[in-house]
Amino acid sequence: MNTTPRIERLRQNYVNSKPSVCIERARIFTESHMCTEGMPTPIRRAQAFYDFCNEFEIKIFEDELIVGTAGKFRRSGILTPEFSWKWVDKEMDMFDKRPQDPYEMTDVQRDYVRNNIFPYWKGQSLEEHFLSILPKETAKIAVDTGIVDNDSKWRQAVGETTPDYQDVLFPSGFQGILKEAEENLAKLDYANPDDLEKIIFYKSTILTSKGIMRFAERYADLAERMAKEEKDKERSNELLKISKVCRNVPANPPKSFHEAIQFVWFVQLGAIISENPLALNPGRFDQYMFPYYDADIKAGTMTKEDGEELVQALWLKFSEWVWTISANTTGYFAGYNQFQNLTVGGRKRDGSDATNALSYICLEATDKVRTHQPGLSVRIHSDCPQKFLDAVTDLVSKGTGFPAIHNDQAGAQMLLQAGYEPEDARDWSNCGCVVPHFRKTGQWTAAVNINFAAALEYALNEGKSRLTGEKMGLDAKPVSEYKSYEEVKNATLEQMKNLIYHSVVATVVAQKLHTQLVPRPFLSTCVEDCMKNGKDLSRGGAHYNVGPVLTGIGLAVVANSLAVIKKLVFQDKIITMSELNDALNANWVGYEDLKAKALSVPKYGNDDDYVDAIAREIANYYYEETRAHKDIFGSKFNSAFMGISNYIPTGKVVGATPCGREATKPITEGVSPYAGSDISSPLAAMRSSAKMNHDVHTGGTLLNLRLSEDMVKTQKGKRDLGNIIRAYFSLGAFHVQFNTLSTEVLRKAQKSPEDYKDLLVRVAGYSTQFVNLSPEMQEAIIARTAHTNM
């Protein structure tokens, strides 16, 4: 790894330091809110933002080129009690002990937040409002159940935004945004009832714009002071440069590549301070950054190596901050993951190839620094340069799990289906893990996870959970009374429909509350048309408002299970529904023969139409049913088969399933096969996956495959893999991502985690350090079939 010594030191620090909770953001926000009682919520949130920017004790750490943290530590997680303080109160004593994503937190900090912060938010948080309104029937299946899960939308902020550097931020700077707000405000009239909301909105954006500029100015001052005191001449000059950079951005349009990079990091920080967001995406980084890179290179003011170092420094910044989340949420989003998705390659708005020098520098940066962030995505189009595809498969061969590889045309098609203009559709980038997204958009791209396997269970168990016996689904007849496969299938779809309905309820309630309780003035200035419309992003101010995404989990488990029922019970008639039910209740114990029979029925992921057709039918139904609902802006809900780490917690609450799966074992992510059942080859798994109509699932589809490292060791292997990806995409599929690690390596990493701290693996829609995963997550990764050649 030939990085500069500075990057290597920063990298070592990132790899070796445990994230710590910093309570400063919570303290300053709370104290600010105490002073603004009675004022409109947007103003209060904006004032709190300003106060943080003005008061937080900022630091510039050793070796840093890109500066700014949202907490006192390099690797800080912050608290946002206005969203939820309860889970923190409940869980923080265990923060450093929990198996997945532990944080450092001191007793002094704990005492402080319990005595001085949480009492203020009692009864005021988004969580409490949400739970007080949510209908009981919905709460029963949607609150910490693993059946319908949207807790990241009421214990956390939404995030899921791609700041618009191209058309908003870089051209105007926050000085320009401030000016626009003041000019618009001057045109409004309190006598006009329609103007009041706008007046409040503009005032809030004036505060946040001033806040982020104040924040940068303070870094400029600090850098200048530090430069004076610094004995090392070289570092002193660096600090002076940092000071100069922070004097100009993000107030004004960047004048250099360095300034543009620092601008991006200040915007990320602004969003982090505002709401501790998930999926705050840097978007098409190679596109909006290239003009600055190119100009500096041509002017001779920056070398290619300097440019690479800046990109790598930003990668480390993306990775250092920590998205503080509950233990429940870590089950769905494991690995300190913040889902800052950065997309390179693809086509330009006019349809021509967009690949440039920075596209390659980004791929190399991920290889060199081995950070888990940004979530690096590439868009591959039919006429993409072979050199770019080679660079992509080369990175795949390194076993980092990156990049997420996407079909450019499928992404554009998904956006067209969602109602975007063609040029905008071509300009898509990824949000979070695998959601095709466009920067001028307000959308909840990961609104709810829906457990398909639970729907199947309720159809087969009279509406009850097999593990607890509790009635969770709709009424269903005793299993022995099913007379045909069609009846079983329809009963399953009926239960799915019910889960979709409750997902919609939980989303709409949360959406409404977000508009009232947690408006987003800072992010509203980063997304086009909020300023023109005088409307907050949370209230539909963006140019496009697209319906929330419901993610289906367990597609393969349900398809495999229905195939078993279809074949063994109704076609071959070698078992009865009652026998199957007994076996499931016994978790297959004493029914090994039956289990063997179930396992021998064709499984999704092997290009066998018998079961793949069932998967497609379920997916199509899911699309239709999801689209039948509308959100608070009148936008239709969207379907998705993405993955996060959600296939593990959702599996825990489901008993044995007819496919041969045992109780509580993981289910399946995205359109991926069940772990270990894609025994044919990755090619067959790709063909199965491509049978789902990817283009209609506009919330994204995900296929994860593991490849033995031997398959991509050589130039030929890499070239072949690139062409396989082209073939897969020709079928209309959207995404594929590879883990190319040997099981042997992973076992070694389990035994001596100390030696494998930087070993990245793909979890689902993202990669993270293998050693940061809980033992059961590690086992799940290993259990994925490693496709090995003979």
Partner: protein
Amino acid sequence: MGECSNTGVVIQMQDYSIHDGDGVRTTIFLAGCKLRCQWCANPESWTPKRKLVYYKHKCTNCMKCSLACPMNLVPCKMERPNDVCITCGKCVDVCPQKALDIACVEKNSEDLLKKIERDALFFRFTGGGVTFSGGEPFLQHKFMRVLLDRFEELGIDSWVETCGYFDFESVKDLLPKFSHIFMDIKHMDSKKHKEFTGCGNELILENAKKIYATGVPMTIRIPTIAEVNLDDKNLEQTAQFINKNLPTADVELLPYHELGKAKYISLGIEDKFVKFTTPTVEQLNHASEIFKNHGIEIVEYR
């Protein structure tokens, strides 16, 4: 036009093969071979006879196989199952662990084509196709004849990997249908060849010349084994033979590996496994140099 058969005995169909020619290929392993190379990694391919395969590491000793066996055998406890087993497959059906299997199953061309047609998508994008291997695939020339015609119709590229020990006359009509032929030359000394493979090399060398004369591009594959054929004398003679008789052919050196051992165990013939030594990188480089000194190109399909 030679004889045709719609069925053949297939050991395995391996898709996503990247080591058996250009691009991504599906390798069709056909059963049956006249040679008995001591280092053979595919002992199930020696005869086209159905064989019981038993994977001990999967077995839980549940004994269901013995209850199912019409011959009253205990499939999971037998020394040499294939001496007595009638391969009815009843034990395979009942084994909950999939610890038993039948190798060398007869397949018909239509079923095989269905699979190939699905894989063809990947052939088109990668410049790949089908590679026949084995066993010695030409022993099933009647089956190959049917398949090759269909592949030609479908525009699917075909390669073949042969040990060279077959009757040339019965397959010569097939050769022009291949765009590339891999052929093994294991040893230039017929006595040694017989010692290690059970057969002399005369027919093989003769067939090499005849194949070369068809004009189909050839790669000579040499399984490189320290104890067998890595001495300078043999390498020099091999290079001279190629130079003289197959001047445009290139060479691929395939280092010996022990991965076949598990198969001997699963067939209950572990005693027939002979352990050789995998050549070192230095030995391989040295061998390559000898061929290069003769102006022969060394290639790697990897």
